[in-house]
Symmetry: C2
Subunit: 545 residues, 2 copies
């Protein structure tokens, strides 16, 4: 075998751009499988529209149009009423991977990577060779249209055909043509994606024109904007040594002590005094940028021994119990449901997150199967539905970890839908395609508790339903014998047959006092559900150990 | 709610480097979970060493040393006898994300992204703030040591403490200190990772010094280098329109026709003539760089209607049936196994890949459980063991898709190990962390057929084993009665008891002629296993539909 030396091998050494990387590995962005690829395109554009509208304080009105142009070729057009994109930024916004407004903010957002829209441009380009057509207005009568492509070798935008005009309200419209995609009306298709998006964004109106030309309207069910998540200061418990040093280097403060108070949440001057007591080796009066790694390490250790108030959750805006209830009623119309929102938790020491969960029974819950029904799961992260990679997701693990039998629920046969949503300043996605939440222990545990909470509220209803059907059967059976029994008693005793029958019936009814009322009463909607008695809780907590 | 306009929002628009991105999303590189993070470091360095040795034509000798320095802090040192890295490249090789020698080559390699080693540097830096220590010699008496860090904001290397010297054979040694990691002797730990690496790289010798100081040696079991995969021309069927245009732009050929013949495999001038007949709208005499998208699209359509010889598999070097057998014998020492190698398949039209599979029974196969045994799976991609994200992987789907009952195999109770390996010019990984193979239909189908092939060879052995144990039981039972029966017959007839007993025993033994031999004989190793009779095959194929 020929032996090659290093100098020769390294002649081939090259750097390549992130755009080039994803061009070769498009499956990592969600572009694998024809149905999924189409959903990914819709997902990226709709996500960006929602983020933009929210940031501008505008109730989102989004139109999605999917047209089949030829075999496996489709156009996707997404139009919003958001703030638009200034001309100077349109190229980078749509055709530079890892560029955006959101990457360094400590606030809950759907997008943040700056990969999504550029990924769409890349995908259009490598499957149809076509640019993305854009129309944007920033709403002061200034609008333009253009075409955008990406120079993958340099990861730079190519903007052409720029035409400026004066008209229209603010908004952005993007349209691309993609091949290697397919529209399918399935659980993993565009329709389902938009339905779930509407569910988790009830303040949003979505008009969807599908490839048959049919218009589907997901109406706005809540007429107020969700509270804007506030960018907050990072919590000390979420910091690594490296984070602390990064912040120190950027700090304008003159001393370490004031840097700490200025930069982090819950870090008061009292806390600094406490830290001084523990981190004896740190000079709190020196300039923050001169902090060394050992000093920062000592500081972090001290931070982890001091007691802290939990991070504020103002940077997180969960969907909301009421909003979830309204949306679930609109979309699934279940016979019964229970929605819970847990208190904020933290993972990796101090990154705050909030889990919401709901369990729905009956109506359009679950999935229809040949034999009847089975349970389904709806996963969300920062209000974005997650349709793929379920097996790789912390939320799925949480759902699977619940002992459903305890709640009288059988996911194999009952019409049950389980919703789990995580909202966080930084959702730890398992992959660049953001279809699954990384399996952090704290997230799995918290999601499991939330699902158990929600299930507990449905349990009584299901148990009641089972009990009621059992009682109704016994009552009916007894009643069947009443006439015959009355006749026999009358024959034997000479009493009046009618009277005996009435007595038997009255006696039986006395035994099942709630039956008549219940028979006609609809236990109906109760979004708060019924919590079980506290006595059962210790048991449930055990399950979670 | 305050309304913000676009200009204001886009003031915050920024680009960020890929290093910065992964710093924030280290879980995407495999740095999530303390045990997994440590394995990821070892994996990245060992993979690079193996690739480097193979490329230089050197039988790899690798030493891995893991030491605990303090709570959750470990050092990892990997030393190889490879070609080393020239001084001018060491910074970029270890501290620039997306840089390397392998990205654009059309050849099977373990690494190719140029992310792994830089990821380790990043991970050391953000968990301990320390640089990576390097010692390299390119083997002509020229050696150096240095420290390497990464400027994450610019994705550029920082090389310090460079000292040159004159000594030593060629090789590279890298050492880093990492926190947030943990050594564990489990199925997902470093020891297991190296054991499996030895299995899929029998030409490699690995010395592993674990944190207790114990030295574990995985010896070289094959003394020849695997054939070097040849970089081959891409096959026309694997091309997208965009690929074709990319190649055309880089081409030195003067005409489209010669460009096609020069650039692609199996594309002869006869084939060009065929293509001309179909793609009437394409001018084959014009310069390749002037090809338009519609022309390229027409060409690709024509390419897909013409018949092609399958891609050469010289760019792929699977592990090899014999090598797998030797390695499995060394490591699992099964009572029986069957190893198969399938013919090259293609996915996405024309990317070639080869699947190998083995099913082992007995010995150290499977996993010991409280109740006895259960089956395990060993996944490999380009000879690299995949330890994580099993549920997200095409190879797992293939394994789960097999109807094991048909092969008399019960994965819940039997000591069975299933090995599946994919080798390809471009393994489509599901994520940047490369722990799972993306679920391409062709790969799942091909892997399933391979596993079924392998299982079929084991089936007869297991059936035989079951039958033998059944017969042995009957024989033993009959023998238990022989003495009593002889006595009774003797009593009744007056015949000699001894003689009657001997007759009965002889008669019984006549019924089970193979029993005595089999009892002492070890059916032993037969790496080719036994293929079932052809008659059962159509049945099996059905299962795969």
């Amino acid at each position: 075998m020929e032996v090659r030396v290093a100098e020769e091998i390294f002649k081939e050494f090259k750097e390549h751009s992130i755009a080039e990387f994803f061009k070769k590995n498009r499956q990592m962005l969600g572009y694998s499988g024809m149905v999924r690829s189409l959903v990914t395109v819709v997902h990226e554009y709709v996500t960006n529209s929602l983020d933009a509208c929210e940031e501008a304080g505008i109730l989102p009105d989004i139109t999605v149009e999917v047209k089949e142009t030829s075999d496996t070729h489709y156009t996707v057009k997404v139009t919003d009423n958001g703030p638009g994109v200034p001309k100077a930024y349109i190229g980078k916004a749509l055709a530079t991977v890892l560029a955006g407004t959101k990457f360094h903010r400590y606030v809950q957002q759907r997008g943040q990577q700056g990969i999504g829209a550029a990924g769409c441009t890349l995908f259009a380009q490598i499957t149809t060779g076509k640019e993305i057509s854009v129309r944007s207005s920033t709403g002061k009568g200034k609008a333009y249209t253009c075409k955008v492509a990406i120079d993958t070798v340099r990861n730079k935008p190519i903007v052409t055909d720029l035409t400026e005009m004066n008209d229209g309200p603010s908004g952005l419209s993007v349209e691309g043509e993609f091949a290697d995609v397919k529209y399918e009306n399935s659980d993993h298709g565009v329709y389902e994606y938009l339905k779930r998006t509407a569910l988790s964004n009830p303040h949003c109106q979505i008009r969807f024109i599908d490839p048959t030309g049919k218009e589907n309207l997901f109406i706005r069910s809540v007429n107020v904007m969700p509270a804007r998540p506030e960018a907050t200061l990072p919590h000390p418990l979420g910091l690594s040594v490296n984070d602390l040093l990064d912040f120190a280097r950027l700090s304008q403060s003159r001393k370490v002590s004031s840097f700490l108070v200025d930069t982090f949440a819950r870090l008061t001057s009292n806390k600094v005094a406490e830290l001084k007591e523990i981190a004896k080796g740190v000079d709190f009066d020196k300039a923050p940028e001169s902090l060394t790694w050992p000093e920062a390490e000592e500081l972090i250790k001290a931070i982890r021994t001091v007691k802290w108030i939990a991070p504020e959750a103002t940077s997180i805006v969960p969907i909301g119990k009421e909003q979830i209830s309204i949306a679930l009623k609109n979309i699934l119309n279940p016979d019964f449901m229970n929605v819970v929102q847990r208190k904020p938790g933290v993972f990796r020491g101090g990154v705050p997150f909030v889990i919401e969960a709901a369990v729905c029974y009956g109506g359009n819950s679950g999935e229809k199967t040949d034999e009847g029904h089975s349970g389904t799961m709806l996963r969300f992260a920062n209000r974005v539905p997650l349709l793929f990679d379920a097996s790789n997701c912390a939320l799925t693990d949480a759902m699977k970890g619940v002992l459903w039998k305890r709640y009288n629920i059988d996911l194999d046969t009952q019409p049950v839908s389980i919703l789990v949503s995580i909202c966080s300043v930084h959702v730890p996605y398992a992959g660049v395609g953001k279809e699954a939440v990384s399996k952090e222990d704290e997230i799995i545990a918290e999601a499991k508790l939330a699902i158990m909470d929600a299930a507990r509220g449905v349990q009584q209803y299901i148990r009641g339903k089972q009990h009621a059907s059992f009682e109704a059967n016994r009552y009916k059976t007894t009643m069947r014998y009443a006439k015959q029994l009355a006749k026999d008693v009358a024959d034997l005793t000479g009493y009046d047959e009618k009277k005996v029958e009435e007595d038997i019936k009255a006696l039986t009814l006395k035994h099942y006092p709630h039956l008549k009322e219940n028979a006609s009463e609809d236990q109906g909607q109760d979004d708060s559900g019924q919590r079980n008695d506290q006595a059962s809780e210790p048991d449930e907590e055990k399950e979670n150990q």
